[in-house]
């Protein structure tokens, strides 16, 4: 299988869906003529033109609302947020219009929209540009939230998200855009709501989403080589819907869990995962579930400190050892 970057995988997914369905339109700031602030849409404008790739002014609330309205009439807008941090100026449109219109209309209206862009820290851009709102948006019944960790998952999940008839919040990571993974040439989809065991293991479950999965894989290698601990790494991939069965199955096998996320800890995604595990696999747990999240302060600008603020393989290892 060819090795391609996470960025290219997203780019291919967009191109394939634009070709497949004339209702798919990609819009956002600098997505067309500029080729995307992070080059995810590179080449698409010259290939598909200004009808399918639309540059918009800096009005996130306005154009996300516009995309929601267009989706009610059958378009499938894929809206790029330059950063998910900027979703906060459009939060009402996302939660109340995308999230509630189907319910408040008694199922008469569908909202097949995808909002995508990077949601991560670790890039030396400061607190306002480093938010990770997956926990906020997954709290909203009516919205779906996806956080792919590899190029393979990014492509398959984005194609599924675009075909999904519900609003999907698709969260990427600028630190992964340049990373490469094997991706098959033939078309494939990855259904939302299905987690993926990225590494089989028997002694402890490392459960994560997004880039934290990569951190866990590195930690698993250290645990194996230096401590003889065989860790399983479970990638949630989709936050809502959530693959509870996969989580419980892993914990029932290993009886120990460390939850790792780049989200802030208070009411972070892993708070929900911990609450789920302790409730449904209480007797299977040989030790308290450990959590490792971003250090609980606004994202610090200073790069070496910011690197410490996010989960590191070493700290994952420490957490694991503390319960093994």
């Amino acid at each position: 299988m060819p090795l391609i970057t996470y960025r290219k995988a997203l780019n291919d997914a967009l191109a394939e869906e634009i070709l497949r369905d004339e209702n798919v339109v990609v819009m956002g700031e600098e997505v067309a003529e500029y080729n995307g602030a992070y080059k995810v849409t590179e080449g698409l404008w010259s290939r598909f033109g200004s009808k399918r790739l639309v540059d918009l002014p800096i009005s996130e609330a306005g154009f996300i609302g516009m995309a929601v309205g267009a989706s009610m009439l059958g378009l499938r807008p894929v809206v790029e947020l330059m950063f998910w941090s900027f979703s906060y100026v459009a939060f009402d449109q996302i939660v109340n219009n995308a999230g509630c219109v189907r319910y408040m209309s008694g199922g008469q209206i569908a909202c097949p929209i995808v909002i995508r862009g990077p949601a991560n820290g670790g890039t030396n851009v400061g607190a306002t540009h480093s938010h990770t709102p997956e926990n906020f948006l997954a709290n909203v019944p009516g919205l779906k939230v996806v956080c792919p960790a590899t190029a393979y998952d990014a492509k398959g999940l984005l194609k599924a998200a675009i075909r999904d008839n519900d609003p999907v919040m698709f969260m990427e990571n600028t630190l992964l855009y340049g990373e490469q993974w094997e991706v098959p040439e033939e078309e494939y989809l990855i259904p939302l709501g299905v987690a993926d065991v990225k590494r089989e293991g028997a002694d402890i479950s490392l459960i994560a989403h997004g880039r934290a999965v990569i951190t866990c894989l590195k930690a698993a290698e250290i645990l194996q080589s230096e401590h003889g601990i065989n860790a399983e790494v479970l990638d949630l991939r989709s936050i809502r819907p959530l693959d509870e069965e996969a989580i419980l199955a892993s914990v029932r096998k290993t009886h120990r869990a460390v939850l790792v996320e780049e989200n802030k800890p208070f009411c972070g995604v892993d708070a929900q995962i911990a609450s789920l595990i302790q409730e449904k696999a209480f007797d299977d747990l040989d030790a308290p579930i450990q959590r490792l999240s971003a250090l609980d302060a606004p994202a610090i600008y200073s790069l070496p400190l910011e690197k410490l603020q996010l989960p590191t393989p070493d700290r994952v290892v420490q957490k694991a050892l503390s319960i093994c």
């Binding site: 929601v68 219009n97 008694g106 008469q108 779906k144």
Partner: protein
């Protein structure tokens, strides 16, 4: 107009009889706006508005039963009792609600217009809003987008002089006319007196043609007045406006009576016919109240439907993963 007037009268009675709680934003006094504008629309034209949506819903063709039942929170309501009076929808009639967040519908209307243009359909979207809604930022973002992308959307500001207890002068700074803000976006704008249906129709028609033929937006401000409080729950309905002011409007500016008189003067309507229409409207409204009253409430299981289309319409291998997180 009779139908809206009687419908509101009946729903108010039902509210006071405890058939519903929460908010109920009566359209009484503003009927002419929805009637004069929506009646101009063709098969490709769409409508969206705010929470004061009963009139628009009826003019768009929703029937009193489904609306009243929705107010009562019944399973037979247009949204199965899930949306309430602020959230009436009828996509099949190109009526897209009914939205409770002030100005929240303004970019949605833009999106409907966007989809029409994208699909090459020669239609437009009428997006209604109140005079207080102009101060939500998203409306301005929508105006810029409408002009920049040249979209067939018509923003109709129903200027009833108040946003809850706040008069226009206390909520908005502007030169002479509120709608003039459209100039900053190079969008044509106009004003009309809501009690003159001919004027409203003429100016709306011009906007509709601009949308259909040039795919350009318009902002149209229509002067009107609401007779009741902001919502039925508005305790101060008669505090921020003098009783005299309200009575003055009812006596000299009631759009219903003025229109009736005009049609009679023009020989297009007789007193008797007017009587009959009013009578019918009242009967229809009362029947709707009975229908709503006799309808069943949704069941507890209904709470979890209409959240995700994937769950309601599972594909081949069914929905994957957990969608709802109550451990029961």
């Amino acid at each position: 107009m009779f139908r809206i007037r009687r419908f509101e009268q009946t729903s108010l009675k039902a509210y006071n009889a405890g058939k519903m709680g929460g908010f109920l934003h009566l359209y009484t006094g503003q009927e002419s706006v929805a009637v004069a504008t929506i009646s101009l629309l063709g098969p490709n034209d769409h409508v969206i508005t705010a929470y004061r949506d009963h009139g628009h819903a009826l003019v768009c063709g929703m029937n009193m039963n489904e609306c009243m039942a929705e107010f009562f929170g019944k399973a037979t309501g247009s949204s199965k009792g899930k949306g309430g009076s602020m959230h009436l929808f009828a996509p099949d009639k190109r009526y897209w609600g009914g939205h409770g967040i002030v100005a929240g519908q303004t970019p949605l209307g833009l999106g409907l217009a966007y989809a029409l243009k994208y699909k090459g359909i020669p239609g437009c979207c009428l997006c209604y809003m109140g005079d207080g809604a102009v101060n939500q930022g998203v409306f301005h973002e929508s105006l810029n987008l409408a002009s920049l992308l040249s979209l067939p959307v018509i923003y109709i500001i129903e200027n009833n002089g108040y946003s809850m207890g706040t008069s226009l002068a206390r909520s908005s700074a502007f030169k002479q006319v509120l709608a003039q803000r459209a100039e900053g976006y190079n969008i044509p704008w106009d004003q009309a007196n809501g009690e003159n249906l001919y004027e409203v129709r003429a100016k709306t028609q011009a906007a509709v043609e601009r949308a259909h033929e040039e795919s350009r937006p318009t902002v149209l401000e229509i002067a009107t007045y609401r007779y009741y409080g902001h919502s039925v729950a508005d305790a101060n309905a008669r505090k921020y406006r003098t009783p005299e002011e309200i009575d003055h409007y009812k006596t000299y500016h009631d759009p219903l009576r003025l229109w009736q008189k005009r049609l009679i003067d023009e020989g297009l309507l007789t007193e008797a016919q007017a009587e009959a229409i009013d009578h019918e409207a009242r009967a229809e409204a009362e029947a709707a109240a009975r229908f709503a009253d006799e309808s069943p409430f949704p069941t507890e299981a209904d709470i979890f439907t209409d959240v995700y289309s994937e769950v309601d319409n599972p594909t081949g291998d069914g929905p994957h993963g957990t969608h709802f997180f109550n451990s029961r």
